[in-house]
Every structure is written in structure tokens, then in C-alpha cells.
């Protein structure tokens, strides 16, 4: 089961909105996954066991500076299932999660 973490920066739980969109996109793709969420200050500490990180593109510089050992997908719109699907698909394909 692929483990994905949604990350945002403002500490108000908007990463949870993103998590829900990711969950729905994955269901539509037929991919079994466990999705969680956190903020940018905690992502390094919580990266163990995570396969993919999904984040708002506004945090790209910040997150790239953390050198996370997993692919990171950056979104323009946090709850846009079409964008999430488009960006997750190649990564999931490479991991063998979809054909």
C-alpha cells in the first residue's frame, strides 16, 4: 500500500483538505493508499515510511531545502483532483502502483 503525505505550511489544517482530494483521486485511480497530512515544520520528522509527498507549490523552495528522500509533487491548486491525478499518475506508474 502506497503511503502519501499532504503538506502545507500554515498550521490551519489546509493540508487535510488536500489529503481528502488526494484520497478521492486515488480511489478513482483504483490505487490502495494511506494518506496523511502535516505541516512543513513536521514533514522531515514524519517522513519515515512515506512514499510520496504532495505539497502546495508555494512551499517548493522550503521543501526542496529539506532534501526529502521521496518524490515530492507540487500543486498549484490544493483540492484540484484533476491536477492531483495528472501529477500523481507518472509517479505511481513508476512505483508500479498503476499500469
Amino acid at each position: 500500500m502506497v503511503k502519501i503525505m499532504a503538506v502545507c505550511g500554515a498550521g490551519l489544517g489546509s493540508s487535510f483538505a488536500c489529503q481528502m482530494a488526494v484520497e478521492q483521486a486515488l480511489t478513482a485511480l483504483g490505487v490502495k493508499a494511506k494518506v496523511s497530512h502535516t505541516d512543513t515544520s513536521s514533514v522531515s520528522a514524519l517522513i519515515g515510511g512515506i512514499d510520496i509527498v504532495v505539497a502546495g507549490k508555494n512551499y517548493q523552495k522550503l521543501i526542496e531545502g529539506k532534501n526529502l528522500p521521496v518524490p515530492v509533487i507540487f500543486l498549484d491548486r490544493l483540492v484540484d483532483k484533476a491536477e492531483i491525478t495528472e501529477k500523481l499518475t507518472p509517479v505511481l506508474r513508476e512505483m508500479g502502483e498503476i499500469k
Binding site: G9, F16, A17, M20, D76, V79
Partner: protein
Amino acid sequence: MAEEGTATIEDLLKPESVQIMDGVNDWREAIRISLAPLERGGFVETRYAENVIADTLEIGPYYVLTNEIALIHARPEEGALKKQLAVTLLRRPVSFGEGMDSVCVLFALSAEDPNSHIEAIRLLANFCMDEEKVKRLIACESSEEIYRLLMDSTCE
């Protein structure tokens, strides 16, 4: 994730916090106007809106959820006093930058922490992903209609 027991949209939104505006001059005005009901009600300090603007200048608009919808918010320590939600519908969309020029629904949120309103976030996210509901919101002709739509959609 246990969402029961946390604040819902009904808990966080008063009818008088829903407003419809013709348009705004720019994204800064959009941010200030969207937060005005929260400021009037004492749910955020004036610096909250200014912090959203400052953070936007630093990292870009970090709150765009879909083509039409933004969730205007800052970190709790940036001037949030109590959790609350406001909704602004713009008749003429505002641009938050390239590729984000169709925003016409502004949810404005303040909260003291990320968790005590997580049910509201869940309900909001579901609403935003329902294209039919979003179309209906944009077509609403009064703030009362918007309030009813949100209450009916999110009281499950």
C-alpha cells in the same frame, strides 16, 4: 482521523458573515474584504489580513483550492483570536496571479490550532470538490441563499 466533536461549518459560520460583492480592485483587497466579517466580529486582529498579504508576497498565494475557490487564512499566531469562517462571493473574479485569475469564492478562516475545526475542513473540501455545488454557490443571488446552500450541503 477522528473528526467527530470538532467544529463544523455550522459551528463556524454566521449568516451575517456571508457577503456578495460586485468585485474588488486586486487580490489584496480581496483578502481584506474576505476577512472583514471576522475582524468585525472580533475573531481576528487587523494584522491577520496584513499577514496573509505579507505571506502571499513572500511565497505566493498558498490558499488557492480550485480554479474558483480560495481559502484565505494565516497561521494561528499571525492574529487569529477565535475560530470562525466567513464566505465572500465576488460577481467579478479576482486574479491571484497567472493561472489563478478566476477566483470568485473566498472562504476566510481563522483558527487557534489546526485540529479543533478539522470537521469543517472536511466538509469544505467535499463542497469544493463537488462541481455542481460550486456552480450553485456562484449562481446564488443573495447571501441568505449562499448560507442555506452551505448549511444544507454540509449538515450530514
